[in-house]
Symmetry: D2
């Protein structure tokens, strides 16, 4: 049996005249792109260009859906109702779908962004709203969400395919949730340790929680960032380590 | 041979807490709805509700695409490039398409709104950008645009199906363009005359220009507005007159 | 000693082509207007017009500051930081101040809107950010906020003048906070009772909490709404009852 | 008699999480900053920070007012009416004024941005709307606009102080207008020539038009950009050349 994992990254987060990130460089190392859909970043022209870059790089395209908070980059919690979130998901997925259609590229997954990701990870009603929104557009779309979160539960409940996401640079609580950023030890700063943990999660389905206790954690996709030269170098290093460990880096979907 | 025409109206133009128009009342009399997609009016929740209302009323759904000018309601000319307009069309069509998919309703047509309608009617590059945008999402979508305009030419050039729109309450120049609103005689204020002209355009393909000269004018769809009680009454009156003249009111598409 | 109270209402909440409320009618009955500043409603032209209407009606002008959430009308809780809220207050107060300067009208007060009003009423850091924001523009501006809330405390702490707001149609907890809308008895639906309570609060500084216990409550301004004909009639009724009880309806400020 | 000129640059054009330009570096070389006010760039927090940086650098603060077109960075012509432009000016000037008040810094000038600058330079009604808008907030504010444009005429007509702006890297037509960017010779690419022309304009009030004919051109301020390292180096070079020619670089206002 061959082991595999997806590497996903957030792309297309520029807006109008403002550039964010080096999308081309990131695309050389990942297998899936979460493309901003205009609510926290991205605009129509940038979405068009990003889908085109993904196609050229052979990277799977997903919709990165957000609260409507451009100024706050979708990072601020907002008390949107499940009905609002449902409609926002449809709107953004549809908008990106049009650029996929025009490039003859399949839309493959949907990942909630920022505050919506965090809120829906712990709120069943929001998680269900997202999954139902995705399923109502295309039930073959894959939800990409935090391993062990309410969103994964909601995908199962809705019958939506899902991929469980892990983070190389974050510590986990015993219940599989991420240790809050403020807490000591929340970030794994030792790169070699971070990489070893990812390889372990993929190969064994287990990882040490911050308490030291070993916990089970399903890992279908690892989230990476290419915000700067250092981050980009780390992305390449993870990929190389995964491949050296005999793990295939491959987009979600078509999983046997 | 049976005569037919479509009656179209702009719907879903509320935004957030602000209500515009009486969509339910208009839906009782028209065959096609141009649904705002968030750029000049409408938002995700309103789009969802509007598609639902259209489905219940058996009215065909189209995307009413606009410049990004919410505050100006898409009525101000904006020097967007053809590339920008192309991308804006995809974004808005896709967003509405998602709500159609979730309601199991077919998206049928696309109509440019306000300033974009006026600008693209006279500008070949914009008109082509719109048609290519529509065709890149789904080449079966029908462009709904001013009879005799550059947009109709562009649809022919692009191989996109199109429907030629007429206005009951507007006078025409000899070249088939609308007499500018400022000019004397631009508006047909006599309701009976307006209706007689519509019936004549549908049945004979001819109408008197403002100069008195008879011109040819193809009429596939007549644009009506339901902004107030008086306008709504006029919509009903047109429909009744059309039907009395043996003209079937029917959504565009499937035309023989 | 003469008794007095201010009657305040939210105005200028239209946006672009969308009309909200009947501002002229409300202005005939109130002494202070909370003018939307573009973040939850209102835009530059509407602010200009609203200040002009206030001036003509002799009604005091205040800035109704909000989170940046136009689509949600500022009613959704948003996790904006105190630093963000501080800057948002300055921006909105300044924008309205320009229209006051151009009309030679004094800006008199600032009232947080919707979700910001509710959040800052219970959150000292947000309340201080708002008060410091106001004071940094003009320390003579009056904060209008819920009687007994953290905002009133923050105004005292900052040395900012403040006016304590009461609601005619809402029940109070024993600690002076509003009974949450969901709870039984939260709304005072009997108009005569509502009016009697307002008169009592003004004349005695006391009111019965929802538990029946009499609590102290300072009342400098009563909030009224003119959303529809019924609400407008109630506004007139309150004003008449206040005046009949010998209470002068007068804008905040210049209080002896 | 001592010669002087102002050097102005556009600042505070970041938005939310997106950074644009290196404001600190530019501030070291200019005497006036045109601060974005949220319509084409900038937001409340960025305005606060930018005014603070200007104060620290001893650089005069002005409002850089724009059409409401964030996505297009205010660079697309928009058919806003003079009444709309008037109101937009007040709104943006007022918003920035608040940050000036909170920093105890004087707001000194107003410069229209991008498409508004270009349109109002040739359109008397827009130019007057801008000048009247500025004067209605504070008639001591200085309009900064293209030397020889309709805006300068409008300032004279309105009695508003104004400063005439020149461009180092642009050729001029015989009527003093800028040669359109598309035309051959529109850009002065030889840096030494560009600098020599600026020195000549300041010292003699004359410059060679693109036709070779010498024309009169008043120069109160020269516009410079610090978008990249090369541009920043050029800004320093201009300043050094001006000072070497005995020309004092000093903010507009208080001119003798």
């Amino acid at each position: 049996m061959s082991m595999r994992i997806d590497m996903n990254s957030d792309l297309g987060e520029s807006f109008g005249p403002w550039v964010m990130g080096d999308d081309k460089a990131v695309l050389a190392s990942v297998s899936s792109a979460n493309v901003a859909c205009g609510f926290h970043g991205g605009d129509a022209e940038i979405m068009k260009k990003t889908v085109s870059l993904c196609k050229a790089a052979g990277v799977a395209v997903g919709a990165h859906v957000s609260h409507p908070d451009l100024q706050g980059f979708g990072r601020r919690n907002m008390a949107c109702s499940p009905a609002e979130v449902y409609a926002y998901c449809l709107y953004q997925i549809g908008a990106l779908q049009a650029f996929c259609l025009s490039h003859n590229v399949a839309l493959r997954h949907v990942k909630p962004h920022g505050a919506l990701y965090n809120m829906a990870g712990k709120d069943e009603a929001l998680a269900l709203a997202i999954c139902e929104g995705i399923a109502s557009v295309d039930p073959r779309l894959i939800l990409l969400a935090l391993s062990g979160s309410k969103m994964i539960d909601a995908a199962h409940q809705t019958g939506l395919p899902c991929a469980r996401e892990i983070f190389a640079d974050r510590a986990y609580e015993e219940d599989g949730s991420l240790v809050a950023r403020g807490k000591p030890g929340a970030m794994i700063t030792d790169e070699d340790l971070a990489i070893a943990r990812v390889v372990q999660m993929v190969t064994t389905g287990k990882v040490a929680a911050i308490t030291g206790k070993e916990i089970a954690l399903q890992a279908d996709s690892v989230c990476v960032h290419g915000d700067n030269a250092h981050a980009l170098a780390f992305v390449k290093k993870i990929r190389a380590a995964l491949e050296a460990a005999g793990i295939k880096v491959k987009a979600m979907g078509g999983m046997q």
